[in-house]
C-alpha cells in the first residue's frame, strides 16, 4: 500500500477538503493506484539534472517586466460583486476572534 486511510484524512485536512467516508475509501484506492504508477520515476536516472520549474525561452532577464505605471484597480464594488457575503465594503466571513 502506498497510502493509508489515515494519510488520506490527513491530506484532506491539509487541503481544507471535507470528504465523506465513501470518498476517503475511493481516494485511498485511486491514489494508491496512481502513486504506484508514479513509482516508475525511480527507474530513470536524474543525477546532475537541473529541475525544470518553468518553461524558459531565450530572452533578456527583464523581458517580462512592464513599465511601473499605475492603472486604476478594480473598484470596491466590482471586487465585492462575487463575494459570498459582504458588508460595509468588506468580505464577510464567520467570526474568527472571540470577544
Amino acid at each position: 500500500m502506498k497510502i493509508t486511510e489515515k494519510e488520506v484524512r490527513y491530506v484532506a485536512g491539509l487541503a481544507n477538503l471535507h470528504l465523506t467516508d465513501a470518498e476517503v475509501k475511493r481516494f485511498e484506492a485511486d491514489l494508491d493506484e496512481i502513486l504506484t504508477h508514479i513509482d516508475k520515476l525511480n527507474e530513470i536516472d536524474t543525477t546532475d539534472v537541473e529541475p525544470m520549474s518553468q518553461v524558459l525561452y531565450a530572452t533578456e532577464e527583464t523581458a517580462t517586466l512592464r513599465a511601473d505605471v499605475p492603472v486604476p484597480p478594480l473598484s470596491n464594488q466590482d471586487a465585492l460583486a462575487n463575494a459570498a457575503r459582504s458588508g460595509a465594503g468588506y468580505f464577510r466571513v464567520p467570526k474568527v476572534i472571540e470577544r
Partner: protein, 478 residues
C-alpha cells in the same frame, strides 16, 4: 447563409454583400441554440453581447472603416476563460454564479478584431479531464457519434466547431485539452508555444503548463485566430515578447525537403486503425517531399508520472482560492471559518478536482517534496531536453494525438489512471512548452476521426502551420 460551413474567408467575402454581421450573428445564435440539445456543447449563449458587437461591425462597414480580420466571425469561448459580465463557471458548481469583473486578454483581442462571442462552451471542471464527463453541467456528446465523448477538457469548443455552430473557438490546454478533443471531433486544434498567448483571464489550473489556443475547421482559420490573440501582454508576466509572424503566409509555403521525426515511442501502443491512419498520413507527407526519419524520445514513458505530479501540485495551490469568501459559493455549514473552507470545497468540487487536489497536496506535503515534485521537475527537464536534441536534426515531429479514437461515454470514467494514461502523446509537448497541433488524419471504418499531431521548436508555429497546411491541401489521409 449556411453557418455550419462558413470559414473566416467566407465570412469576409460575404459580409456586407450576402449578409450583414447582425444577420450572421442572429442566424449563428439561432442555429447554436437549436443544435445544443444534441451535444450540450454550450453552457450559455451571449445574444446581447453578440448582437452589440455585430452592430458595431456593420456600422464600421457602413462608414468604410476596416472592421478587423475576424469581422462578423461567430466565436465560442471555453468556460474557463473569463468574460466580463458573462457568467463563467469553469464547469464547476462552485462557480455557478460567478460573473467575472474583467475580460481575458485573448477575448479582448478577438473582439477588437471584430469577432462575435456567441457563447461559452462546456468543459471538464477546471479543465481537469480527457472526456468532458467531469463537467458539473453534464457531459458533452461527440457530434459525430452521440454515444461517444468529444474528448476533453475543451470538449464543448471542439464540438461547437465540428457542429458548425461557431466558425472558430478558444480552448485551453494543460496536458492535451485542445489537441485531444480536436482529434476526437475531426477539427484543427492548436496549442501554441508556452508564453505565446497571454493567460490573463484564463482560470489557473497548472500555471507552468496552461495555454490558450484555437479550434477551427481548417488550418488557415486556426492560424488567423492564433495570430489575433498572440503576443506580449503586460497583464501576464509569462507572455513572451517575441514577434508574431504572419502565420497565414506560411500555410502556403513548400514543405519539400523538410525533415520530419517520427518518434518510435509514440507508435507502440496505438490501436491498429489509428496506427494505419497515422502511417497513411506520414506517407502523404513523404509524397509531398518531406524526409521522414525515425527518432527516439526515450523519456516519453515517464511523462505521465511527471505530469500528474507537477499539474496536480500546481492545481492544489491554484484551487486553494476557492474558499467560500470571494467566488460566490459558500456552504451552509459555515459556522466556523475552518468549516466554511472545508465544506464549501467538499461540497463544491467534483470528484476529479478533489482527486487532483488530494494528489497535489500529498506530493507537496512534508517529507515527499524531493521524492515527487523535485523528481518530476527533473524528469520534465529530460523530456524537454529530448525534444531540443531531436530538433537539432529534424524540423518537425509528427505523431498520433491519442492512442485511440473517441471512446464511449462512461467507458473510462471509473478508472482515473486509465484516463490519465490516454494523455501520453499530448503531455510530452505540454511539459516541454513547445507548439503542437492536431490536424485531421482520416477516419476509422466506424467514421471516427483520428488526429495527427505536429510538434515544432519553441516559437516556430510557422513551420507547424506550413506542414499542416500542405497536409490539409493534399487531402489529409483520406
Amino acid at each position: 447563409m449556411q453557418v455550419s460551413s462558413l470559414t473566416i474567408d467566407a465570412v469576409r467575402r460575404g459580409l456586407g454583400r450576402e449578409f450583414s454581421a447582425t444577420e450572421l450573428a442572429t442566424e449563428a445564435l439561432r442555429f447554436a441554440e437549436a443544435e445544443n440539445a444534441k451535444t450540450n456543447a454550450y453552457l450559455r449563449f451571449s445574444p446581447e453581447r453578440a448582437l452589440a458587437a455585430a452592430k458595431a461591425v456593420d456600422e464600421k462597414l457602413a462608414r468604410g472603416v476596416d472592421p478587423g480580420p475576424l469581422a462578423g466571425v461567430p466565436v465560442a469561448i471555453k468556460d474557463v476563460i473569463l468574460t466580463k459580465g458573462l457568467t463563467t463557471t469553469c464547469g464547476s458548481r462552485l462557480l455557478e454564479h460567478y460573473v467575472p469583473p474583467y475580460d481575458a486578454t485573448a477575448v479582448v483581442r478577438l473582439e477588437q478584431a471584430g469577432g462575435i462571442l456567441i457563447g461559452k462552451t462546456n468543459c471538464d471542471e477546471f479543465a481537469m479531464g480527457s472526456s468532458n464527463e467531469n463537467s458539473a453541467f453534464g457531459p458533452v456528446r461527440n457530434p459525430l457519434a452521440l454515444d461517444r465523448v468529444p474528448g476533453g477538457s475543451s470538449g464543448g469548443s471542439a464540438a461547437a466547431v465540428t457542429q458548425g455552430t461557431a466558425v472558430v473557438a478558444l480552448g485551453s490546454d494543460t496536458g492535451g485539452s485542445i489537441r485531444q478533443p480536436a482529434s476526437f471531433c475531426g477539427v484543427v486544434g492548436v496549442t501554441p508555444t508556452y508564453g505565446r498567448v497571454s493567460r490573463y483571464g484564463l482560470t489557473a489550473f497548472a500555471s507552468s503548463l496552461d495555454h490558450i489556443g484555437p479550434f477551427a475547421r481548417n488550418v488557415k482559420d486556426a492560424a488567423v485566430l492564433l495570430e489575433t490573440i498572440a503576443g506580449r501582454d503586460p497583464c501576464d508576466a509569462t507572455s513572451a515578447d517575441a514577434p508574431v509572424p504572419d502565420y497565414t503566409v506560411s500555410i502556403d509555403g513548400r514543405v519539400n525537403g523538410l525533415k520530419l521525426g517520427l518518434p518510435r515511442e509514440y507508435l507502440k501502443d496505438l490501436t491498429s486503425e489509428t496506427g494505419d491512419l497515422i502511417a497513411r498520413g506520414v506517407a502523404v507527407l513523404e509524397k509531398l517531399g518531406c524526409e521522414v526519419h525515425e527518432i527516439s524520445l526515450p523519456a516519453t514513458d515517464y511523462a505521465i508520472a511527471s505530469y500528474y505530479i507537477i499539474a496536480t501540485a500546481e492545481a492544489s495551490s491554484n484551487l486553494a482560492r476557492y474558499d467560500g469568501v470571494r467566488y460566490s459559493t459558500r456552504s451552509e455549514h459555515s459556522e466556523t471559518l475552518a468549516d466554511m473552507y472545508r465544506y464549501t470545497r467538499g461540497e463544491g468540487f467534483g470528484a476529479e478536482c478533489k482527486r487532483r487536489i488530494m494528489l497535489g497536496t500529498y506530493v507537496l506535503s512534508h517529507g515527499y517534496y524531493d521524492a515527487y515534485y523535485l523528481k518530476a521537475q527533473k524528469v520534465r527537464a529530460l523530456i524537454a531536453r529530448g525534444f531540443t536534441e531531436a530538433f537539432r536534426s529534424v524540423d518537425a515531429i509528427v505523431a498520433p494525438v491519442s492512442p485511440f479514437p473517441a471512446f464511449r461515454l462512461g467507458e473510462k470514467v471509473e478508472d482515473p489512471l486509465a484516463m490519465y494514461l490516454s494523455d501520453i502523446y499530448t503531455i510530452t509537448g505540454s511539459l516541454a512548452g513547445i507548439p503542437c497541433m492536431s490536424v485531421p488524419c482520416g477516419r476509422t471504418a466506424e467514421g471516427l476521426p483520428v488526429g495527427m499531431q505536429i510538434l515544432t521548436k519553441h516559437f516556430d508555429e510557422s513551420t507547424m502551420f506550413r506542414l499542416a497546411g500542405a497536409f490539409e491541401k493534399a487531402g489529409g489521409a483520406d
